[in-house]
């Protein structure tokens, strides 16, 4: 596909998303709008996790560590003066004096994660396979412990609250579009080709002059930026959260979306988010029981988790590289297969 055609396709895709965002709240109820917002946030997080985990093959379990940092950093930055006085009285002066709007707070959260990723990634991205997974899990644990102990900044294990509820559908969908465009441009470029080469065979990559560490580190860092952004979105969606909100359970939820959708494409990440979110919402509603008048399904609490687990197992058996594998739909496919 030519550059002009790609440009037009991008514009059309953005326009379609913008249109949907504008009319969705008129079409469906508030509950569904909230589910869509959460899907957009998850989309930002899962797609950015796929950059490192899927495209460079460095399976990190630390992504949610950056999400946590993003949520707390942006939360602290956007708390009102009154909220800071009542919830975080011991905050250092330079921090307690400032209150940033949503957008700058989110960008700062992303940039803080970039710096953190460079520091953490410099040693960790030298590792491969299981070693890097365990080491990045260590990073997640350290973030959790630091959040719990940095009481002046985070209120410790208690709920961090008072974050303005600013994550509207527009913001969430807007950031998702930005994330997908940025990731697609990078992944289907010479830089992305270095990521894939490093994933496929480290030795072959070095033999054609690709430096492994810089390739992995740049993907890890870009992924961390959007983890920070997504953390800010999530924080401003929840309003209140605690270190426990961003820990093992959330890590596994995001990873299952990535693996089920297929971690070697951006579309896979998005499909995984939609499939897992829709399935769990539908099952959660079903387990409350249904009443069709003539016959009724009694409530079956907990059944949704079991069914979800079985579906995960089946997908992994029949589609081990996820629903999408390394295929993209729409733009990405044309960009990738432009000469096929």
């Amino acid at each position: 596909m030519s550059r002009a055609a790609a440009f037009v396709a991008t514009i059309v895709a953005v326009a379609v998303v913008a249109g949907l965002v504008a009319i969705l709240p008129q079409l469906v109820n508030d509950y569904i709008v909230r589910v869509v917002i959460v899907m957009c946030i998850s989309g930002v997080l899962v797609a950015s996790m796929g950059l490192g985990n899927g495209f460079t093959g460095v399976f990190s379990l630390g992504h949610v560590g950056f999400v946590a940092v993003g949520a707390y950093v942006s939360g602290i930055l956007s708390l009102s003066q009154a909220a800071k006085h009542s919830y975080l009285p011991d905050l250092p002066g330079w921090l307690s004096g400032i209150t940033l709007p949503f957008l700058p707070a989110t960008i700062v959260a992303g940039l803080v994660c970039v710096v953190l990723a460079l520091v953490v990634g410099a040693p960790l991205m030298r590792l491969s396979g299981y070693f890097v997974s365990v080491a990045t899990l260590g990073f997640l644990i350290i973030v959790n412990v630091v959040l719990i102990n940095a009481v002046d900044f985070t209120r410790g294990a208690r709920t961090f609250t008072g974050v303005p509820l600013e994550t509207t559908l527009r913001w969430a969908a807007g950031w998702l579009v930005v994330t997908v465009i940025v990731l697609a441009r990078v992944v289907y470029s010479p830089t992305g080709r270095r990521y894939l080469s490093v994933r496929e065979d480290v030795i072959a990559a070095r033999a054609v002059g690709i430096k492994v560490l810089p390739a992995r580190l740049s993907a890890f860092t870009l992924g961390a930026f959007f983890a920070g952004v997504g953390g800010s979105l999530y924080g401003h969606y929840l309003g209140s959260f605690s270190p426990a909100s961003f820990y093992m359970a959330y890590t596994f939820a995001l990873i299952s979306m990535l693996v089920i959708g297929g971690m070697q494409s951006i579309s896979g990440a998005l499909v995984g988010v939609v499939v897992v979110t829709v399935l769990s919402e539908v099952l959660r509603n079903l387990e409350r029981g249904l009443d069709f008048g003539a016959f009724a399904i009694p409530p079956l609490y907990g059944a949704s988790q079991i069914v979800l687990g079985i579906i995960f197992i089946l997908i992994m058996i029949f589609r081990p590289s996820g629903i999408m594998g390394d295929r993209e739909f729409g733009l990405g496919r044309f960009v990738k297969r432009k000469r096929a």
Partner: protein, 262 residues
């Protein structure tokens, strides 16, 4: 016996006292070789004689215990593999090492883009540099795919290629980095005589067209004797002889150590 010596026409690669040991096993011992621009040099020797170890040490995949490697006047024995490629030594591996899940053309592009660098911000902003790099990379890729008749398979996954095509792909991938020295580790292994003949012609064509020097490790004596201008014989990690194909074939020690088996 013609001892390798710099003849003043310029030395591309030179090793001196190059030694590599794995615990107590000395895989390469006091190795010396000189390769001049545009030369085709063969390295032969029985299994385990240190041929691949020589390749690995020169290309930065293994660190030597002692000795020096000089390429185009620069000491490279401590250099990282990726930097050595940039400097101009490309290699293939014994048994292929392709980027298996990627397409044929992506394998070549991954190498070709070395000479046309662009970074993440070029990709994000769509800079002129990105587009120039993409055009140049595509041009090299098209040319090399055509050279080995893989144009029609450009979009095929590398892992789905027939064995011979995989070897040819790895060869042009190495060439795509625009090397001054190409090191081929058993390029004809597992090929029948017709295919081997094709590889011989291809290697010669590559030297003539691109002006690279080539070091070939091969067990196929026909290929080595017909292709190489000079041959070095290794045994137990040591250079035991070096000379023209005729000299190698006439040497009794070489016959005993190596050719005797054939």
């Amino acid at each position: 016996m013609s001892i390798a010596a710099s003849d003043g026409t310029g030395t591309l690669l030179e090793t001196r006292g190059l030694t590599k040991a794995f615990r107590s096993l000395v895989a390469l011992k006091n190795h010396e070789i000189i390769v001049r621009p545009r030369e085709i040099v063969g390295v032969i020797g029985p299994n385990g004689s240190g041929k691949s170890t020589f390749f690995n040490v020169v290309t930065g995949f293994q660190r030597p215990n002692a000795g020096s490697v000089t390429f185009a006047g620069e000491p490279i024995e401590r250099m990282a593999a990726a930097d050595i490629v940039r400097l101009g030594i490309a290699r293939t591996f014994q048994g292929t090492r392709l980027l298996k899940a990627l397409t044929v053309e992506e394998n070549v592009r991954a190498a070709a883009q070395l000479r046309h660098p662009s970074g993440m911000f070029d990709a994000l902003l769509g800079t002129p540099r990105l587009h120039a790099a993409a055009r140049a990379t595509d041009a090299i890729t098209d040319e090399l795919l055509d050279l080995v008749g893989l144009t029609a398979r450009a979009g095929t996954r590398a892992s789905e290629l027939a064995y011979g095509d995989q070897r040819r792909l790895e060869l042009i991938r190495a060439l795509a980095t625009r090397p001054r020295l190409l090191m081929l580790d058993e390029p004809a292994a597992g090929m029948d005589s017709t295919e081997t003949r094709g590889i011989l012609d291809l290697i010669r064509l590559i030297r003539d067209r691109y002006g690279v020097a080539i070091i070939v490790v091969e067990h196929d004596m026909d290929l080595i004797m017909n292709l190489c201008e000079r041959i070095q014989v290794l045994a137990y990690g040591e250079r035991i002889f070096e000379g023209t194909p005729a000299e190698v074939q006439a040497n009794p020690q070489v016959r005993e150590v190596y050719l005797g088996h054939a």
